[in-house]
């Protein structure tokens, strides 16, 4: 299947948006997953619920809330614009924010699940060898919860590629800026008789995420090689 120049642009934009979304969300997702797995603090349940919001509310509502917060008239957007001269409205950065927010709950849950499965006795052993909590985190907890990080990555990436409702509501459908694959598919769906275009774009989406899946599976297979299971 040969892609047209327009289609290439859309693919490139989607990749940029999705990768930016997932990569910037990952550290927050890890921190939240860790807090929810290990932390004990008042309001933990509220935090847990807040993390799930993007999943529970219809995406268009999330898009609208983002609009209210990040729009030039909103609290966050206003500050960003006044202090940094930076606006996300109608920009690919806004699309990445929308995708990242929508992916967040999936990523947090996957990471949390992996952290909960880490045997804390292994960490205890590291502590007795002189590892500070921070060092222990980087050298033991993080590597041992990589399966969850990998899952978070692939779920987040797939979700970002498929994200549409929050994005179009927040940053519209602007060619070259916010018209990602999913939005292009939506647009094509609006045109009677454009089924062929829909199929093409859908196949491209599938191809992209198949690629991401292949890479992530190959990586996690390498990761697991020779060291599955716990040790006596």
């Amino acid at each position: 299947m040969m892609l047209s120049a327009d289609e290439w642009d859309i693919v490139r934009l989607s990749l940029k948006v999705s990768l930016a979304a997932v990569l910037t969300t990952l550290p927050f997702a890890f921190a939240l997953g860790w807090l929810l797995a290990r932390g004990r603090f008042p309001g933990k349940l509220l935090l847990d619920a807040a993390v799930h919001l993007p999943l529970v509310l219809p995406p268009v509502v999330i898009g609208w809330l983002l609009l209210l917060a990040f729009g030039p008239a909103g609290p966050v957007g206003g500050l960003l614009e006044r202090w940094l001269g930076f606006t996300v409205m109608f920009r690919w950065t806004g699309a990445a924010i929308a995708a990242g927010i929508m992916a967040l709950p999936l990523m947090v849950r996957a990471i949390r699940l992996s952290i909960e499965a880490v045997d804390h006795r292994i960490e205890d052993a590291a502590r007795t060898l002189g590892a500070s909590p921070a060092y222990c985190f980087w050298t033991i907890l993080l590597p041992l919860s990589l399966p969850g990080v990998a899952t978070a990555f692939i779920l987040g990436f797939a979700r970002s590629i498929g994200e549409f409702g929050a994005t179009i509501t927040f940053v519209s459908n602007i060619p070259g800026e916010t018209r990602t694959l999913s939005i292009a598919i939506y647009s094509a769906l609006q045109i009677p008789g454009a089924d062929a275009a829909v199929w093409r774009l859908a196949l491209i989406s599938i191809g992209l995420s198949l690629g991401a899946l292949l890479i992530s599976e190959a990586l996690s297979r390498r990761l697991r090689s020779g060291r599955s299971g716990h040790v006596l």
Partner: protein, 232 residues
């Protein structure tokens, strides 16, 4: 490549407005950026302070809403396109119906449903409901509706024979060969179907007003006409 004005336009204008913009660009202007989405989403983006130049709404209330907030440049609002409401059936179907007071649409539906845009919220749905009420058949149909997210989705239901009849705009019905027009609702049976356009207060693009004038010009009207729109 220079960037033209940013135009937020109702999704149902997609093909016609794209053609008009191409014609404008062919005259040597920078091609406008066209963002198609639901009128409601676009209006909310404008409310949030989105820096766009032109707004083309699918109906008047959303334009009223942003006008009331002072987001529309005074004297630039115009209702520039009209449309008609039609009853459609799958191209392969045989049934004959004449639209008049008390016509037996409910019986013609059999066990099926009448596809239309959501009569509670989407403009095309509201027009449809008004028209059916004017024909005195709404009470027999109100619980037989398959309410779609937008007109094009309602059209798709008829195209794929999920619904034996549907109510859509004439422009939509003309865009596909999978449906046939059973009848046209009289203009008097519903509020006038008008697409208003306006220049936005936040517009900064030098060519925004030029493009607006172009859309109102006879040349553009001819293009819209080709896609089935009436022009005032």
């Amino acid at each position: 490549r220079e960037r033209g004005p940013l135009v937020l336009a109702a999704a149902s204008l997609q093909e016609a407005l794209t053609a008009a913009a191409d014609a404008w660009a062919a005259e040597g202007h920078a091609p406008p950026l066209l963002s198609f989405a639901a009128s409601s989403a676009l209006a909310r983006q404008i409310e949030a302070g989105g820096p766009a130049d032109l707004f083309l709404s699918a109906d008047e209330p959303w334009m009223d809403a942003i006008t009331a907030k002072g987001l529309v440049r005074r004297g630039t609002r115009a209702s520039f396109l009209t449309n008609r409401l039609v009853l459609v059936a799958p191209a392969s179907s045989k049934g004959m119906l004449t639209i008049r007071r008390g016509f037996p649409l409910a019986r013609a539906l059999g066990a099926g449903r009448l596809a239309m845009a959501d009569p509670a919220s989407v403009p095309a749905g509201r027009y449809g409901k008004a028209a059916l009420a004017a024909m005195g058949v709404w009470p027999t149909l109100s619980n037989r509706i398959a309410a779609a997210e937008n007109v094009r989705a309602a059209l798709a239901m008829v195209e794929r024979r999920q619904a034996p009849y549907g109510i859509v705009y004439e422009t939509d019905a003309r865009a596909t060969r999978a449906v046939r027009i059973v009848g046209v609702f009289p203009d008097s049976s519903h509020p006038p179907i008008a697409y208003p356009l306006a220049l936005l207060t936040r517009s900064t693009h030098a060519e925004a007003e030029g493009f607006r004038r172009f859309l109102l010009s006879p040349k553009a009207k001819a293009i819209f006409h080709r896609y089935g729109f009436g022009a005032r």
